[in-house]
Symmetry: C2
Subunit: 202 residues, 2 copies
DNA sequence: GGTGTATGGTCCGTTTCAGACCATCTGTTT
DNA sequence: AAACAGATGGTCTGAAACGGACCATACACC
């Protein structure tokens, strides 16, 4: 019957519909955009094709608006809830995946001008500071509301990761700044680790 | 001329060839598998098609072995080095991307049995501990060799991220373990944050 | 001579991706 | 009321990426 494989993205759709109630693809797009999209992103076009597919599988119900906009609103069915619960019930042995262009450039930096690294680090500091600001704003806005508090827990993980990255790039940038000779990698790695371990090392 | 777009994966190939010298696709596969693959993964089949493409663009040179195995060995050309250096010279404004199934399950946990979260957290603790062990082993093995020390710097970032994740999941699992009533999300979030902020909170 | 494992590589159907494109609706300005 | 901007709501498509099955050689060891 349902020998069909559901992707993680399918479960994001199911999960969002379970949490929010009936929604259009556009609603999902926005909701995901400032929540779960930060740790599972995909092109928005999929939010139009995927629910359609899930509806055909009986996991969602589709209702067409009669008047002008003819919106398509999706509602999770009992079967859909069941599939979602099943997925939630099995813990993952999957490790998170990171795709970090900056980390790559750092890794390969030997093959170019080592002077580039400082700029790279500074830009990353900026990126992570910005992201942290966004997360913290979200936390302030929703942290007190008990209905959404559970979701704030995963935001907390995001924050911790961001802060770890920020500490790293800050320490690296400081180290490169203060070092007259940035061409002594082994010792400079030690210094970097030292900076990271020092409390208030940022 | 080279109006062709190079993907990040292209630069991984270029970078690896620049650091290692002439290599076969298989060599690249192994080298990437325990280094840069941790923060930029892709199917190994691409390590057979991509270098071919880069060779056609003049960024690599291909030499065929005459005898038995007929290995294809790729060498980076001056043009290839140039492209790589250019890429390395521009800092990224890209933010890293995380894809974390566990974080998703945590986010949606309200929609299922909240009791699942403890198992989820425990499994993640295990995953991150394992990964940290791998990273630390690499660090011990190569940390002292000055030739590869620069590459150890990016490993350090990976380690910091892993440790942040481990702290989070450990704190969460401890919190759920000690809490008789895990259905008080707001207060329990506070407790979680408290645990994370406490030094030696793991 | 058989078996296992590392090496080295190819192929191909299915999903994802990125992003261009289109249409409608609502509020504001002029 | 016409014009416009910006949010809303959605479709389409070519190009990449994915993943995993599949194949073959080399070599070591029993």
């Amino acid at each position: 019957m349902s020998a069909v494989r559901l992707s993680t993205t399918s479960y994001v759709v199911l999960g969002m519909l379970a949490l929010r109630g009936p929604s259009t693809s556009y609603d999902l797009k926005r909701a995901i955009g400032h929540s779960v999209g930060y740790f599972w992103s995909f092109p928005h076009a999929q939010l139009y094709s995927e629910p359609q597919r899930l509806a055909e599988l009986g996991l969602l119900e589709l209702s067409l608006e009669e008047d002008g906009r003819r919106r398509k609103t999706f509602t999770i069915t009992e079967k859909g809830r069941h599939a979602l619960r099943q997925w939630l019930a099995e813990p993952t042995n999957e490790h998170f995946e990171i795709r970090d262009v900056a980390e790559l450039k750092l890794f390969f930096s030997e093959a170019g001008d080592p002077g580039n690294v400082l700029e790279l680090a500074r830009e990353q500091v900026k990126q992570h500071e910005e992201r942290i600001a966004v997360y913290e704003a979200t936390q302030r806005r929703f942290g007190q509301r008990p209905e959404v508090a559970p979701r704030m827990v995963s935001l907390q993980l995001g924050l911790e990761m961001e802060r770890a990255a920020l500490r790293f790039w800050t320490a690296l940038s400081d180290e490169l700044n203060s070092d007259a000779d940035p061409a002594l990698p082994a010792e400079y790695l030690q210094a970097l680790v030292g900076r990271l371990n020092r409390p208030n090392g940022g």
